[in-house]
Amino acid sequence: MVKPLQRKLRRDIGRHKPQFIAITITIFLGVAIFGAAWDSYSNLVASYDQTAVDYRFANLTIVGGDTEAIADAARAEPDVESVETRTTVDVAFRIEDTKLLGRAVGIPPGDQPAVNRLDVSAGFYPANGDTAVVLVEDHMANHFDLVPGDSFDILIAEAWQEVSVGGVALSPEYIWPARDRQDIITTPDNFGVAFVSESLAEQITGTAPNEVVLYYTDGEANEELTTRLSSAARDLGATNVYTREEQPSNNALTEDVKGLEEMAVFFPMMFLAAAGLAAYVMISRLVHAQRPHIGTFLANGFTRRQVLRHYLGYGMLPGLVGSIPGALVGVLLARTITRLYTSILSIPLTVVDFYPATLIGAIAFGVIASLLAALAPALVASRILPAEAMRGETPSGGGRRSLVERLIPPLRRIPTAWRMTLRGVGRNPRRTIYTIIGVVLSLMLVLVSWGMIDTVRNLMDRQFIEIQREDATVFFAGPTATEDVAALVDIDGVAAAEPALTLPVALSANGEHYETALMVLPDDTTLHRFADVGGGWIDLPARGVVLGQATRGLFGIEVGDAVAMTLSEGMTVSAEVAAFVDEPLGTMAYVGRSYAETLAGTALPATSALVAYEEGVDAKALRNTVTALPQVAAFEDANVLYDLMQRFMVLFYAFVGVMLVFGGAMAFALIFNSMSVNIAERTREVATLLAVGTERRSISRYITAENMLVAAMGIPLGLIAGYFAASAAMSSFNSDLFTFRLHIQPTTYLLASLAILAVALISQVPGLRAIRRISIPKIVKERSA
C-alpha cells in the first residue's frame, strides 16, 4: 500500500518538475550559504585562536606608567605565564623617497619575545648585537619591495639613521595594519611597522620601556585577572590598557569575521523562508487539486497518518535533495573561502576543520524548513472528509468585487477583462499574501546587501569629505611651533594649513576609562567640522572638550559633566564636556587650542598640520615638496586613503552582486511557483476564454497584469521591511570605532524595486508558455481542470 503512494509522490513531483526544482534550488542556496558562512566563520575563529596561542598573542597590553613596577605586579600573578617589557614608538621612516610615520617595536636581541612572537617569513631574526638590523612587517615589506639586505632610514634624535633589513615578519598584532584603535584604516604610504632591537627602540624614545605585554596561562582569557591588573597598572600611571579583544588589529578582524557569523544566520533564514513559502504554495495547490484522490484513499482504508505522511513527503523530498548537496557544497566552499581570506590577510596560521555539526545542522535546517512548509497542507489533506472530497472540486475562490473597486467606484467601469484582473488579486488571499511575502523577503535580501554599500559610501563621504576637510596631514619630526605650520601656506599648491596637536589620552568618568586620541585644533578650524549628534554642524566650543558620542553611553555623562583626561606624560586634567559629536569613524576627543593652552598653562606646539590643496594642484609634486622639508616626518594624503577605501569597496560590490543574483533566484523561485499555481488553478477559465475567441496574448496580458499587481503590492512593504532589516544589520556592526548609520540612496530603492519586478516578469514566462500549450478540448471537458 505504501509503494504505490511513493510512486505517486515521485510522479507528482515529476509532473511539477520546474516548481519543485525551484524549491530545491532555493533550499540548496540557503543551506549552501549557511554551510559556507558558518564553517568559514568557525575556521577563521579557530585560525585566529591558534595564531594567538602559537604566537603567544598578548592577553593584555599596558602602555605608559612605571613599566617595571607594572611588570613586577604582573609576574606576581600565578595566572600570568609570561611578562615582557618593550618599547613601542611612532617614528618617521624614510624608504627611498617616501617618508612615513611608522612604528618601531622593540624586540629582544637573539631570541623571539616571550609575548607577541613573530613569524619570520624571510631572512633571519636579528642576532645579539645586531642593533642596526631590523625585521620589517609583512605589509610594509610587500609595499616597498623590501627584502633582507635592503636598508632604510629611521629618524632618531632628529637625524636619519640607516638600518638594515634582516628579515620580513608577520605579527599577530599587525595582521590588520592599524595604527591604533582610532586609526584603523591606514595606507602603506603612511604607516608601516619595523621590529627593532629593544636598545634601538629605547634610543629612539630616549627613555626606558614604555609597554608591558602579558600572556596568561595557556593564553586563556581571564576577566578577573585583567580587571585586577588594569586597575593596578592605572594606579602605577599607565595611560592605556587594552585586552587582546581590544587590540586594534584583532578588533578590526573580529568585527569583520562577525559579519560572516551574521551572514550565516540572516541570509540562509531568508532563503529557507522563501523555499518554505514556495513549497507551501505548491503543496497546497496539489492537495487542493487532489481532493478527490485523497477522498478515495481515505474511503479505501488509508489512514489519516498515511495521508499526512504522503503529503509531508512533498516537502521532505526537495528538502533532502536540496539540503544534502547544499550542505556538502557549503562545507567545501568554506574551505576555499577560509584559505582565500587568510591568504589575503596574511594570517600566519590557517585552520581548516571539518565540523560535522555544521553538516548535520545545515541538512536539518533545509529539511525542517521544507517539512514545516508541507505540514499545513498535509494536515489539511489528512483531515479531509472522504464523502465531501469525492463530491467534486471545490470552488477555487468565490467571487466578490475587489477592495480597490469598492474604494474607488469608477474602477467598476473599466473593461471587464481588467476587472477580472483586479479581482484575481484577492481571489486566493493566502497565496497573494505569500507571493507578497516572497517579494518582501527578496527586497529585504537585496536592500540589506545594497544598503551596506550605500551606507559605507556615505560613511566615507561623511568622514573624509564632510568632517575631515583636509586634503593631507603633514606629520612633523618633532614638536613644531604654530608659526612654522603657518609657513606651509607659502608653498605653491597649499591653500590652507592648520596646526594640530594629537596626543594619546585616557578619558575617565564615573569609574569608566576610555583610551583615545586628543586632538588640539585651532579655535576657528575650517579643516575639521563637528557634526552635532542632533544633526547639523557646530563650531569648536571655546571652552570644554568635544567627545565622540560613544563616550556618552560608556561614561553615562551629558554635556556639562566633567571628564578626566590623563595624557601620556601622566598629567591629568579635568574638563567639562562641551558637546558630543557624531563621527562615523572612531571616538576622538577635541579641544580648541586656546582652551588647551589655558589648561596646560603654556603655549602648545603642533605635531602635525592639516593641509588643504589649491584647486588643480599636482598632489604628487606637492607631496614631494613637502616631504623634502627637514621638519616633515610624513605626509598622509587623505585622497589616497579615500581611494584606498573605495578600492576595498570592490569586495563589497562583488558580495552585493552575489547577493543580488541570490535574491533574484529566490524571488524567481517563489514568484515562479506562485504564478505557476495561479495559472494552473485557472486552466479551465483560460481554456474557456480561448474557446470563446479570446486571443492567447490577451489572456497572457491579463494574467501578467494580475501577477505584476501582486508583485507590485509587495514592493512598498518590501522597501519598508528592507529598510529596517538593513538598519538592524548595519547597527549590529556599530562599536566605538564605527558608527554605521543606514543610508540608502533613493535610486537604490528604485533599482531594487525594478529588479524585483523584472524577476517577477521573467518568472511568469514558463507559466505563460504553458498557456500556449493548453488543450482547450481537454480542459473544458474535465471535471477538475
Binding site: P395, S396, G397, G398, G399, R400, P415, T416, A417, R419, M420, R423, G424, R427, R684, E685, A687, T688, L689, L690, A691, V692, G693, T694, E695, R696, I776, P777, V780, K781, E782, R783
Partner: protein, 234 residues
C-alpha cells in the same frame, strides 16, 4: 450557416496506442436546426463538437462551416472563427468565479462589439436572469449558472451554438428548463444548435438526431415533429 464534414478522422496517439475518436465522418447541415448528437461515452460526440468549434483539428478530412475551410485556419484564424461564428455551452458551465453573471457575459460581448454591457443585460434578461445578473457564480444555482453560460454563448450572436452535455450537471427539472431554453432560441432565432448528450430521451426534441458509436455516425434521422422540450421526460 452550413456545416459540411467529409471523410473526417480524428486520431489521438500514434501506433498501437492510437485511438480513433472519429472515423471517416461525413455530415451535411444542419442549418437553422437543433441537432441532437447522441451516443455513449467515448463515441466521439464531444470530439465532433470540438472540431466544428475549431478548438481541435481533424487528423484527416475536410470540415467547412459557412464556406470556411477549418483545416486552412492558423491559430489566429481559429480565434477569429470562434469569435465570430461559434458559441459554446459546456457541461461544467466554466464561468469565471470572480466575475458576476453580467460581467461573465459582458467579457465575451466585449470581444465582438462595443456596448457589451447593454447587450449582455439584454441576453441575460432573455434567459430569465434579469434579477440575478449582479450575482457571482458561487451565489447562483446550477441551472442559473448554465443559463449564464448560454447567455455568454449567445451574446455575440453566433450562427452556431455548440452545447456539450449542457444538462449533465443539472437535476431533471433544471435540465429540462435549459433544454427548453435552447429549443426556444433555435426556433425563435433560426439558430443552428448542435447539442451533444448521452441521454437518448433528449433526442426527441431535436429537429435532427445523429447517433454516434465508436467514432462513426450510425444513424442520421429527422424528426418530423420534434416534441416540446418542456414535455421531455427521462
Amino acid at each position: 450557416m452550413t456545416i459540411e464534414m467529409a471523410g473526417v478522422w480524428k486520431t489521438f496517439g500514434e501506433g498501437h496506442t492510437a485511438v480513433h475518436a472519429l472515423r471517416n465522418v461525413d455530415l451535411k447541415g444542419p442549418q437553422g436546426e437543433l441537432a441532437v448528437i447522441l451516443g455513449p461515452s467515448g463515441s466521439g460526440k464531444t470530439t465532433l463538437l470540438n472540431l466544428v468549434g475549431a478548438i481541435d483539428n481533424a487528423t484527416e478530412g475536410r470540415i467547412e462551416v459557412g464556406g470556411i475551410d477549418l483545416s486552412t485556419l492558423d491559430v489566429d484564424g481559429q480565434v477569429k472563427y470562434r469569435r465570430e461564428n461559434v458559441g459554446f455551452v459546456f457541461q461544467f458551465f466554466n464561468l469565471i468565479p470572480t466575475l458576476t453573471a453580467l460581467e461573465n457575459v459582458e467579457l465575451v460581448a466585449d470581444l465582438t462589439a462595443d456596448n457589451g454591457a447593454a447587450r449582455a443585460e439584454a441576453v441575460l434578461a432573455k434567459v430569465g436572469l434579469a434579477d440575478r445578473m449582479h450575482h457571482f457564480p458561487a451565489q447562483l444555482s446550477g441551472g442559473e449558472q448554465q443559463r449564464v453560460a448560454i447567455a455568454r454563448a449567445l451574446v455575440k450572436q453566433p450562427p452556431i451554438l455548440l452545447c456539450d452535455e449542457p444538462t449533465g450537471e443539472l437535476d431533471f427539472e433544471t435540465g429540462r428548463m435549459i433544454l427548453k431554453l435552447l429549443q426556444d432560441i433555435s426556433r425563435e432565432q433560426d439558430q443552428t444548435v448542435l447539442l451533444v448528450t448521452h441521454n437518448a430521451a433528449i433526442g426527441a426534441m431535436g429537429d435532427r438526431v445523429l447517433k454516434l458509436r465508436s467514432g462513426e455516425i450510425v444513424d442520421d434521422s429527422r424528426n418530423t415533429s420534434p416534441i416540446d422540450a418542456g414535455a421531455l421526460t427521462w
